[in-house]
Amino acid sequence: MKQLAVRLGQRLLLLVGVSLCTFALLSAAPGNFFDDLKLNPQISPATVSALQAQYGANRPFPERYARWVESIFRGDWGYSLSYHCPVGGLVWQRARNTLLLTAFAVLLAWMLAIPWGIAEALYKGGWVDRTGELILALLLATPDVLFALLLLLLAARTGWFPTGGMSSSDVTQLSFAQRIGDLSRHLFLPVLALALTTLPILARHVRSAMIGVLDAPFLIAARGHGIPKSRLLYRHALPVALNSLISLFGFSVGSLLSISLLVEVILSWPGLGPLVIEAVLARDIYVVVAATMFSAVCLIAGNLLADFLLYCIDPRVRTAQS
């Protein structure tokens, strides 16, 4: 447990570093939100400088940072100049949707990748393995942009799925069960796009991890005892292969967050993606900083979760510290 606590401390320090860096870099950026206002002939220079003073945009850097940190503890995370509201609520509202999307995508990707990789490892060199690898190579070469566009085309052409958004327009009149159905119909395409993009990487890792295990003497012995094949695979081989896969889990969270940013824009999912891009274009730096911090927290949380799972599953990790 001490090990985990040390890790946690390190990660928290890392977060402070990330916040300091992104904050410093974004405030050093040329041009800010008020530059656009200055170009507007209907707004007098006096008004602009008054606004700047009101939002503390012309204060020295340490003071702005301190103010920002203070606003975190109030739950505000700074003030969004283009939305005229505290950033915290704004980002959280969107981040929730991104998290929902990512969680389902992680689930789907792993649920596909594990049987896929195991099947390939089991029939190594056979036609299952070769066609599987071919499909994975194609999936790996297809960029996330293209996946999202193709799925959008599917939705537009067939009408089986909504082409965007998170709920139908009549959602308020639906019963609870219907609402769940509606949400899952909207979720399907973005989740599929995300899962397909990460699937090849995960399946390949599962395959190579399983190949390493399947040749181990203890498995041959277990087979000799007449243990049925499926039990052999999922109860005896998989837990051994799981170790390297769990560290991959943390990675998959990070990469999914990245991809979801893009997929959300194309498939109009009301997540962080569209918000961040608008904020970058509008120079609304507090929104960018908050979204960046959110992504860092998620990535770090994913890694910590992987550490924790490893700690629970692998007795070697648990006993090594004492």
């Binding site: 974004l26 070469a141 960029p143 998620c298 990535l299």
Partner: protein, 343 residues
């Protein structure tokens, strides 16, 4: 097909693809900004071999388009005149490198005829030519970005691994900082720092800079871990005992051990960086009109009617998939040869 033949075939494909991209002017049929306003969204021109009088012609030829009488935007083939395809024709002037211009194109047709191998976009610009020019931008951004990232990464990794102590811990904390962000968020954060509205030529340099800035951390960490083992090798210790300077040891003894890793990294990083450029341009944060890149070409597909009706506008996407397939093959081949794991 034997392994050797397969390898040669793929290698020549790899080289051919890059040749086409280095010389888009020669292989394209017109400039990337040339418009044919009367032919928006014309489908790809079909090559024919059988003349209207049923004679076979070895030289392929094309027909012109007629605007259909009722529907704007749909076309009918005009069979009254044929335009044979000619090779090495004179066409619009293009620049090869700054200052050197040429006007010979590989393919072309006689004047009133127009050859659109992959159809046209909403301004009647030739999608094929735009795809080639766009490929130049996207692939060059990937290459130069990777070069910058690998160069910085290698230097940082060499110094940090070789000197150890506080230099090492400081740089490694920095690396962790860069790797604590999912890469697209990092991309946006770095993009947000740089000026928003700029000239297109500057945008290209800026894109490379962005890609280079975000990419150095991973190579640095890998190189460092290689250096840590490399510097304990006996011949390195011997060189040091004989009084070789640090610079000499790094250059003559340690760098060669790291080169294989750098090569593997390059094959792995270039497609990623191409994708970074494509992503930024796709979202309107990169190269802007009229200069094409694969990202801006794909961005056209965000318009509903383009997405649904004009299948030829997907061409850059298919090119991207083909390119990535070749790169992944190259990277796995190099990896098998050199035997450096990339984790």
């Amino acid at each position: 097909m034997s392994d050797r033949a397969k390898r040669n075939a793929l290698l020549s494909l790899f080289i051919a693809l890059h040749l086409v991209v280095i010389l888009p002017g020669f292989f394209s049929t017109q400039g990337y900004a040339e418009q044919s306003r009367d032919l928006p969204f014309s489908p790809p021109t079909r090559l024919h071999f059988v003349r209207p009088d049923r004679h076979f012609s070895l030289r392929p030829f094309i027909y012109g388009w007629n605007q259909a009488a009722l529907d704007i935007g749909t076309y009918e083939v005009d069979r009254s005149q044929i335009y044979p395809i000619r090779f090495l024709v004179r066409g619009s002037t293009y620049t090869i490198v700054k200052g050197i211009t040429a006007s010979t194109h590989l393919l072309g047709v006689d004047k009133p005829g127009r050859l659109f191998l992959f159809g046209t976009d909403d301004f009647g610009r030739d999608e094929f030519s735009r795809m080639l020019y766009g490929g130049r931008i996207s692939i060059l951004a990937g290459w130069i970005g990777a070069a910058i990232a690998l160069f910085t990464g290698a230097i940082v990794g060499l110094i940090s691994g070789y000197s150890g102590r506080w230099v090492d811990s400081v740089t490694m904390r920095l690396v962790e900082l860069f790797m604590a962000l999912p890469w697209l968020y990092l991309l946006f954060a770095v993009r947000a720092i740089l000026p928003l509205r700029i000239e297109t030529t500057d945008t290209f340099i800026l894109l490379i800079a962005v890609v280079g800035i975000i990419g150095w951390a991973r190579p640095a960490r890998l190189v460092r871990s290689m250096v840590l083992t490399a510097k304990e090798r006996n011949f390195v210790l011997a060189a040091r005992a004989m009084g070789a300077s640090n610079f000499h040891i790094l250059r003559k003894h340690i760098l060669p051990q790291v080169l294989a890793l750098l090569l593997t990294m390059a094959a792995y990083l270039i497609p990623q960086f191409i994708l970074a450029e494509v992503t930024l341009s796709f979202l309107g944060l990169g190269i802007g009109e009229p200069v094409p890149s694969w990202g801006t070409l794909l961005a056209e597909l965000q318009k509903y009617n383009v997405l649904v009706n004009y299948w030829w506008m997907y061409a850059p996407g298919i090119a991207l998939v083909a390119l990535f397939l070749i790169y992944h093959w190259a990277s796995s081949t190099i990896q098998q040869r050199v035997g450096v794991p990339l984790t």
